[in-house]
Symmetry: none
Subunit: 434 residues, 2 copies
């Protein structure tokens, strides 16, 4: 079974509202093994809604519409469904009584405009709305299918189920879960798509893809694809199988192969951010390690990431933002001569910053960063994006230089993530793999 998801609303096509309904509906459909051909969004224009419904009916096995069933003049989804099927709108007396009762309870008279919400295309079914006045519609859209091949092609009249739900996410989700999903589940015959997202940080998308090799072959099942966001290269695994057992087993097998190819470059999966992974390593360590931060170019970003997590006070106590050279000397004891001889963005400076922070905080680890986030301040020897990061630990202090790309915000973000990554590999007892 495959579906097309249609969203209706001027606010969507004008970009004033981001369409989150389609993504949510897709997730629900994928989870029961229903393929999604695509999403479409049209404005509050009856002719365009009609075209979209008719086209969807010619392509898909089922159509899910959200939006356009409110009480106002620009809500035209029910009219469009009726027009496509060439039928009239008829009043559903039961729902009309329900809406009238709803307004009575508020001590108000039902505005005449709300009457339209009790009307559905003749022959359609009304879907109850448990959290609003906009009832949904389930209609069989008449369409013409081509059956057979080549010379044996035949045009066959067919009917494609369409579910129209409210655009308000809360109402749509309640209706979809209660009425649409069970209907679809009975008809998908148990096929399942299971998904997992594995996250890496530190290497580019193409380098990750190269390591994955044939795992990324198109058409493979489970499929493996990559996406990048905020410097994080993520692997998206999707397993499509007739049964949950098979999908689970195959997904695990492919995930294990990804882990084998990429090792600890994979820091976590699904919704868990890098900072949380590092926090867990710190919290689970029986020696109760603590971390201090001494930041220049990142201006507090590493500290913020390390304290994003509830319970972070167990490992994070002290942080410094030493933006000025004077602050590096005053607060962390970086020798003024080091700054003069090597500059603020140098191995010597970050080593002294990390040592100073670790000593003063009495912490197990200290991370220090100094770099040129730009857009100004770069030189041929130290271009914008140059960031020195040091990690002071129980055996001394190590520093690494990175050349990071992007604008100021991206460089700061990636530098902070790189610092967390250095700490993560230290906590794993391993060398950085790049």
């Amino acid at each position: 079974m495959n579906a097309i998801i249609l969203s209706v609303g001027d606010e969507l096509v004008l970009g004033q509202t981001v369409d989150t309904n389609s993504a949510w509906i897709s997730q629900q459909l994928a989870a029961i093994g229903c393929d999604i051909i695509g999403h479409r969004t049209v404005g509050d224009d009856q002719a365009l809604i009609e075209i979209a419904i008719a086209e969807a009916a010619s392509l898909a096995d089922v159509i899910i519409v959200s939006g356009g069933i409110g009480p106002t003049e620009d809500d035209l989804t029910r009219q469009a469904i009726a027009a496509v099927n060439e039928v009239e709108l008829v009043v559903d007396e039961k729902w009309l009584a329900e809406i009238e009762g709803f307004f009575r309870k508020l001590g108000r008279r039902m505005p005449e405009t709300n009457r339209i919400q009790a009307m559905i295309p003749a022959g359609a079914q009304l879907l109850w709305n448990t959290c609003g006045t906009a009832a949904g519609v389930m209609a069989m859209i008449k369409s013409i299918d081509v059956e057979g091949e080549d010379d044996n092609e035949e045009l066959v009249a067919t009917e494609v189920p369409l579910f129209a739900t409210p655009g308000v996410p809360k109402e749509m989700k309640a209706m979809f879960t209660r009425d649409v999903l069970p209907w679809l589940k009975q008809r998908t015959g148990g096929a399942v798509i299971l998904s997992r997202i594995l996250h890496t940080f530190g290497q580019g998308e193409s380098a990750v893809a190269e390591k994955l090799g044939e795992l990324m072959t198109r058409g493979r099942n489970p499929s493996v694809g990559t996406t990048v966001s905020g410097g994080i290269v993520s692997l998206r695994l999707n397993a499509r199988y007739p049964s949950l057992e098979e999908a689970t087993a195959k997904l695990e097998e492919t995930a294990a192969r990804c882990h084998a190819e990429l090792g600890d470059l994979i820091y976590g999966q699904d919704d868990v951010p890098l900072a949380t992974v590092v926090a867990r390593l710190l919290l689970q360590d029986p020696s109760h390690p603590t971390v201090a931060t001494a930041e220049s170019c990142t201006g507090g970003l590493v500290a913020r990431m390390l304290t994003d997590i509830p319970g972070s006070s167990a490992y994070f106590k002290y942080g410094w933002v030493t933006y000025a050279n004077q602050a590096k000397t005053d607060l962390l004891g970086v020798p003024a001569q080091t700054l003069i001889d090597h500059g603020a963005v140098s191995e010597a400076t970050v080593l002294a910053m990390a040592k100073g922070a670790r000593d003063r905080a009495g912490a197990t680890y200290a991370l220090s960063l100094s770099g040129i986030a730009g857009p100004d301040g770069g030189t041929p020897e130290k271009p914008v994006g140059t960031v020195w990061i040091a990690l002071a630990h129980t055996d001394g202090v190590t520093a690494r230089r990175f050349i990071l790309t992007g604008d100021r915000e991206m460089i700061r973000d990636r530098a902070a993530k790189m610092a967390l990554t250095m700490l993560r590999f230290r906590l794993l007892g391993k060398e950085l793999p790049f």
Copy 2:
């Protein structure tokens, strides 16, 4: 002129990523008076991308595509464009050299897979990418148009411009703004939609709406609507008029009325963040004031915001993240007895933190914050969301308590913005208006 926006990616049709690109592109198009017929989303399937492009070409005057131009096998937008136009992909030697140079600068060899990113359909134009390796494509899609009416219908070969940009929002936005928008602007002519967004922080949406009164009447032109994001209540003004002059004049008039109703509650407009507004006030002050930060619950977030801006080293020198009580005493000189008597989240503690930070940094201003970001740690007297913020200045130090709502991340974010707002009003020489 009208447009269809096409998004490409399995992660979109599977609902793993919400498509924010289409909404952003729509906003840009609407602002220059370009109508949007609709949005379409298809997965990483070359045949479906081809169908979507061909259909869009038959309906729209321009097609904007985002996604599917990365270096991996599941990136198929450029191949689909070439197939629709029945041409080959050819190497753009200039961009190939650019990508190779990019990898050389990082001290790495370009993976062979990246070569595809320097290929464009024959006859197309390459769009430079200033923040990534995926160059864009501008191609004229061959299509057949029906001209004339009824018996005089005639099929006419036509060409519809298509712009293919990366799916990564940052890269897409940079490319769209630099290459696509100016091209479109030259060709829209005529009716104009001018927009402006005014931002407020510190009061709720309904309080802001109440002050705006009849300005928010539906159907008004220019229209005024409100949206909320990250605690910021924004006013969206849209003026639709036949000429740029008229739209500009009417928009200015409505904006002036909004300013009259809300005063300094409006901190800025369009894409300028609160931190930038505060930074500008600091940078423009002829006395060259400096700011220090002493943060507990926000863990470095205020420092990060104050250093988001290039040139921030002029006013930001010293910051402390004193998450532990010991750190508050050691680094800022908060008396241990104050912490015992009043607790870390108290007026006395933030006053001492701000004074300590200001003295130690030799700064003009110091902001301090201590609060309960949750989810744990709340009590009936100090519920989760309780945040004390102090501002030390030339005339002393003042503190305020706020009860902020939301989850941990929201409370931290709002607390930081509230601290910036306190500083902003001090720099304006005014009292907080709430």
